[in-house]
Assembly symmetry: C5
Homo-oligomer: 353 residues x 5
Amino acid sequence: MTRSLKGFGGRQGLSPGTLASSGELEPEATRISLLCWNEGGYDSREGLEPGAIAANDPAWPVRWLRVRGFADLAAVESICTGFGIHPLRMEDALNSHDRPKSEIDDSSVFVSCHSVIPGSGDAAEYRHLALFLKPGMLVSLEEGDTPLFDAVVERMKRSGSRLRRFEADYLLYALMDAVVDGYFATLERMADRIGELEADIFEGDGSGILERIHGLRNEMLMFRRCVWPMRELVANLTRAGDSVFSSGTAPYLRDLYDHSIQVIETSGTLNEMLSSMLDTYLSSTSNRMNEVMKVLTIIATIFMPLTFLAGIYGMNFEHMPELGKTWAYPAVLAAMVAIGFGMALWFKRRGWL
Amino acid sequence: MTRSLKGFGGRQGLSPGTLASSGELEPEATRISLLCWNEGGYDSREGLEPGAIAANDPAWPVRWLRVRGFADLAAVESICTGFGIHPLRMEDALNSHDRPKSEIDDSSVFVSCHSVIPGSGDAAEYRHLALFLKPGMLVSLEEGDTPLFDAVVERMKRSGSRLRRFEADYLLYALMDAVVDGYFATLERMADRIGELEADIFEGDGSGILERIHGLRNEMLMFRRCVWPMRELVANLTRAGDSVFSSGTAPYLRDLYDHSIQVIETSGTLNEMLSSMLDTYLSSTSNRMNEVMKVLTIIATIFMPLTFLAGIYGMNFEHMPELGKTWAYPAVLAAMVAIGFGMALWFKRRGWL
Amino acid sequence: MTRSLKGFGGRQGLSPGTLASSGELEPEATRISLLCWNEGGYDSREGLEPGAIAANDPAWPVRWLRVRGFADLAAVESICTGFGIHPLRMEDALNSHDRPKSEIDDSSVFVSCHSVIPGSGDAAEYRHLALFLKPGMLVSLEEGDTPLFDAVVERMKRSGSRLRRFEADYLLYALMDAVVDGYFATLERMADRIGELEADIFEGDGSGILERIHGLRNEMLMFRRCVWPMRELVANLTRAGDSVFSSGTAPYLRDLYDHSIQVIETSGTLNEMLSSMLDTYLSSTSNRMNEVMKVLTIIATIFMPLTFLAGIYGMNFEHMPELGKTWAYPAVLAAMVAIGFGMALWFKRRGWL
Amino acid sequence: MTRSLKGFGGRQGLSPGTLASSGELEPEATRISLLCWNEGGYDSREGLEPGAIAANDPAWPVRWLRVRGFADLAAVESICTGFGIHPLRMEDALNSHDRPKSEIDDSSVFVSCHSVIPGSGDAAEYRHLALFLKPGMLVSLEEGDTPLFDAVVERMKRSGSRLRRFEADYLLYALMDAVVDGYFATLERMADRIGELEADIFEGDGSGILERIHGLRNEMLMFRRCVWPMRELVANLTRAGDSVFSSGTAPYLRDLYDHSIQVIETSGTLNEMLSSMLDTYLSSTSNRMNEVMKVLTIIATIFMPLTFLAGIYGMNFEHMPELGKTWAYPAVLAAMVAIGFGMALWFKRRGWL
Amino acid sequence: MTRSLKGFGGRQGLSPGTLASSGELEPEATRISLLCWNEGGYDSREGLEPGAIAANDPAWPVRWLRVRGFADLAAVESICTGFGIHPLRMEDALNSHDRPKSEIDDSSVFVSCHSVIPGSGDAAEYRHLALFLKPGMLVSLEEGDTPLFDAVVERMKRSGSRLRRFEADYLLYALMDAVVDGYFATLERMADRIGELEADIFEGDGSGILERIHGLRNEMLMFRRCVWPMRELVANLTRAGDSVFSSGTAPYLRDLYDHSIQVIETSGTLNEMLSSMLDTYLSSTSNRMNEVMKVLTIIATIFMPLTFLAGIYGMNFEHMPELGKTWAYPAVLAAMVAIGFGMALWFKRRGWL
């Protein structure tokens, strides 16, 4: 996870507002597509050139310009400039370590956040995302392809869906809602992994538990860092006022706010469960050590006196009268058995057996 | 407990406001019943059809429509639509993982929370619950049957009870009060279980203590997640103003608010007791290990020198003058006893015996 | 301590405002007494009947009605109703688990809190207490006899005391001040017990320390639960305004507020001292274990090689040339002594001896 | 440290405002001195009688009345009454456990706090202190002599110093500044002691470390209790307004406020360092235990099999063909050496040696 | 690190506002340089005398006066006085332990903070820094040379850069931005070191891990002490209003504010990762101890009974019938092998092997 923290310090000495993709991976190739719709129809064009997009188009009251992948910085910059996005906002949009935030003007909204999906392996996949809303237009700058948005595109294709009837502000909500649903899915995957860990701890399959708890805690830290500012971000949108969000969209934003809080609280609960699990694991480890110590102590406590007894009659003194008696050997053996059983009884009484 | 966290991520890709029961168990069959009363009388009808309920009925100033079980989603939706409940509220009502909340309009109140009862076994039973208050009418959407409401129904049947004299807003209070009383009962059951755990820790019956503490902590986390938002929820109601709650109901709401805070504080206290108990358990485990170590050390420290002594006189050198003396064997035995007692005395002085 | 948490859930299904004494012990017999005074004189009547108390009495400008013990619920209710106390307040007054609170009307003040005294044994004694102030009259509902009030009664008997010159609002202050002084006394007793614990930990008398720390922490939790809401309670009184508290009493209330904060902060300090003490105890336990382990290791490390050497010369091979030499036995003994001292020196150098 | 918490509960049953010195030590003898100055000159009179001090003196625009030691309660009370100090403030001034506070009237300021100096031994010395400011006059009630004020007196004697040019409000600031400088000196002494502890932990001189950490934590708790309320206290002064503090003194008060925050933050940092140190100490203890265990295990693991081998050839069976062979003894010795070295190699590979 | 805390208490007894360099190192030689620029050109003069700098210069609308090194206190004081800096601000500027703060007047801004760079070794290098902004002029008082400012100077030399076009308020922003970029670089270096620690913990190279974790935690504490007040400091600047910051600079300040919060949150995340790492290290230590104990127990449990058996047949009783049988010796050896394998199997079943 520390890997994911790298790169956030790489801007030293650059002039503020200088564009530079700061993701830790190679930037993906830039793909530009435009989705337009009204209540009656839907159109989608892929592989556009930055210059080919008009500022507005009377045929389509709502348009969504998706820019995916930041390899072609010049194209991204030309689009941002074309839609009047402030250089500092562009910098935020391209900086994949940027803290989630929302900024609201008289007529435009800028949102920067991370989409998180459970990922193919254990670790969740983080993608940075910036949304820029102007009347009639939504520009999304996506670090890579965002699978969470596929369902939104599907709904858009269905005639009669709410997305078709509402304005671009509802599209912004729908995309944010998809992002927050991705958080829930990630949390659920984590809850599953925590549940598996819990089972492994109590069933005693101890190998690698420590690494897994440590890994989950670090993932949780990373996740919370992305999710924590969402509350403020969405609260900001909720307070934006009529000039940006229509009264029809407002209750949906409040719902989104409730969901953000629920994500934060659930992640807090999972975090506390992880802490509790570490405590429990440590205790069970120490319990197991206790058990090992008991076995050692029982063996030592039984055999040390017996070996000592055998040692006594192994001494070579000439005058050891017992040695000559016929009954001595069986008597000593009997004494040894008696001592052994006595010890075992004593341990039983102490609750060690 | 992680089981109870499952299912909260299952809405991915659904359009917001789409009805889907998201409880982890099979939804219960839908039962619709209507309770009507005025100061003079009381009527109750079971097994109604969704279409059969008029929006208001001049004969009964106060009516309570109970919808129990969400198996028949179409019926639930038709009732909700009939009483003008917003689709997002419907979604909240059916989502059993929804965070408790209250929303207040000019003339209606929506409350979504969880009823908790101690349950037949150890674990508490959680049921999701939504209450919708309009003038003269209260609609309750209950995930399953809510035993906590039986006492309210009983009080309603008694003529002269306050429930008969007050409006529907007092009924809302009475139901919330029953829910909060259920929280107290659950806390009391937990306090009992904590007390039993405490006794078992100090009486040394250590088997499974760790699992029990861990389980209680997770249950507590779950409980606090349900209870924590109640403070805000009830505070919201308290601030609702005259248009919704009559001045007669207001002091009862303040009382409810005090009880919510008491639930939260008591659960906090129990939580700290559990933490303190885990510390204590770990300490007592480590104390017991200490005791085991002492026994081992005492045994080893006494018998190792003695066995060594026996070993010396078991050597086969030809010239060992002591071996030939008659007094040598008793002398060595006496020395061994002396060494053993000396050691025991030394341990006594160190406080190990 | 969990015992003290019992009973708080026992009101399930009761109509709000229903009187029921919910203390965990048998309610004490109800005693009603009336204390009246003015600047010139003082009068006290014991064993009154509920009906015998007039709402006001021109002869005495200030009167204090003490109701001690809640066995006779009917008498308590009749008094409360006579002085116009709201049923929910009555319920609060009788519920010994009620959270401390104050409610202020235009002309009356209701205070519900717990008096705590160090108690005869170790555990502090908690008594629930409700005070109801009307112009010229203070009604106190005490769960049992409150020894803290004896000093107030004594001061009242002294002519010229401030209590005689001031109004009933000053009496309310004086009683609250006595309650807060009781908190200080309890804290001081706890500080003493913490000091004794500390001494026992460092002097190594380890028996039962864990139980004592655990017990103190639980008592502290209980105490803090009673004391924590006092800050808000007294702040409420401070803000009450002129209609209830005269300007002469106001500075005394601010002083009471400062004392409440000091109680809370001191209890916080003692709590942190207890946590620190548990850490220290655990460390000292683990240090002692370390010491035990060292003794074991030293003994084993010295005697195992020596016993092995003795074992070698105890073997029965026919061709062991050393066995026949006269100097062999003393030489082996000397080697053993040398090995033993060498080991001891090595431990000395490692700092284990 | 618990010693220092004693005495705070000793006022039970006393009428509020009753004067009683509540320090834990014998009160010091009361010394009264008066320092007067104007821009041109300076005068100081020692050993005054309470009655000999006029309320104001036209010759000296600024006067400082120092009352040191509270043995003569009557004299202290007469001075307080003479300058119109409220009885509750007098009580605060004499109660050495009083929580630091400031109270501001139209024309007077009352400050109660603790001066702390590093002290001759390890423990810091606490002295309670009350300052009462009226126009042209500052009364200081000091539990004992306050060495921190010597430098202020020195600066006062220097003509041209800011103290000479400013009013009494600047003197109040100068004394508070001296008190806060004393906090810094105490913190620095503590930082030194923490540094020494740190060195001792890593150099392994483990004796008494636990007691020292525990002691430092308790001292820190005590220190923070005195220092924590200073933020609010000084913020209070900062907000006091023009009637009390001149515009020339205001920036100095803001500076004092910054210093108070720095004291609190630094003490917080030291506190966290202490916690971190305890963790580190516990870990190093457990590491050392680990090392001890390893030595034990290595010795036992090497010698137990060898001793067993020697035991086998020490058996007295008549038919043990090996015993008769000439090469048997050296062969067994060689085998023993081989086993020993094999074990050692195995430990080397596991990283135990 | 405690070393870095030294010196903060050294001002005791000094009059407030007295200049004294309080860094822990020897103060660096004072170098004074002046950088002037307008849109068209750029000029820089090194090695100036304090008296040679005019209060303003019509040729250059923006000038930056750098004072590096505080060895020549008189020169520093003369410059400060020349530009009207309050004595208390001068004191803050020279006190390298001063808490970061910003103070805003009608027309001037004072900022005091620390620049942090990763440093040549592991430990970060802290330099105190004060910035004083007047219209057309920025004075920087730097404890030593600040390498972070080199990039700003470079940008200044490039014609057409934003620095050239904006006023002195933008320069203040640019310098603060460079300082915050240095925080990011320091955090990244720490994240690297944490990553290395993590790898070493799981790969088991345990030497010195404790010291390294402890060291990192203390560095983190130090870093957070410097960084924590930055949020408030920058928020202050953001609220400063139009009289100080032009509308063009305002969005850059908000960006700076976001970056400050990100620094604080990232340092918080790293801190939690360190705590989690300590837990993990302790657990892995205790796991390793567990493993050591298991080896010891296995060895002891296998060889103690075998040695006891050998001891029995080493006894010298005359009547031990087994000793004479030819098959006895191989039988005993076979029994020993059987016992050994039986034990090993038992351990296998318990999961110890």
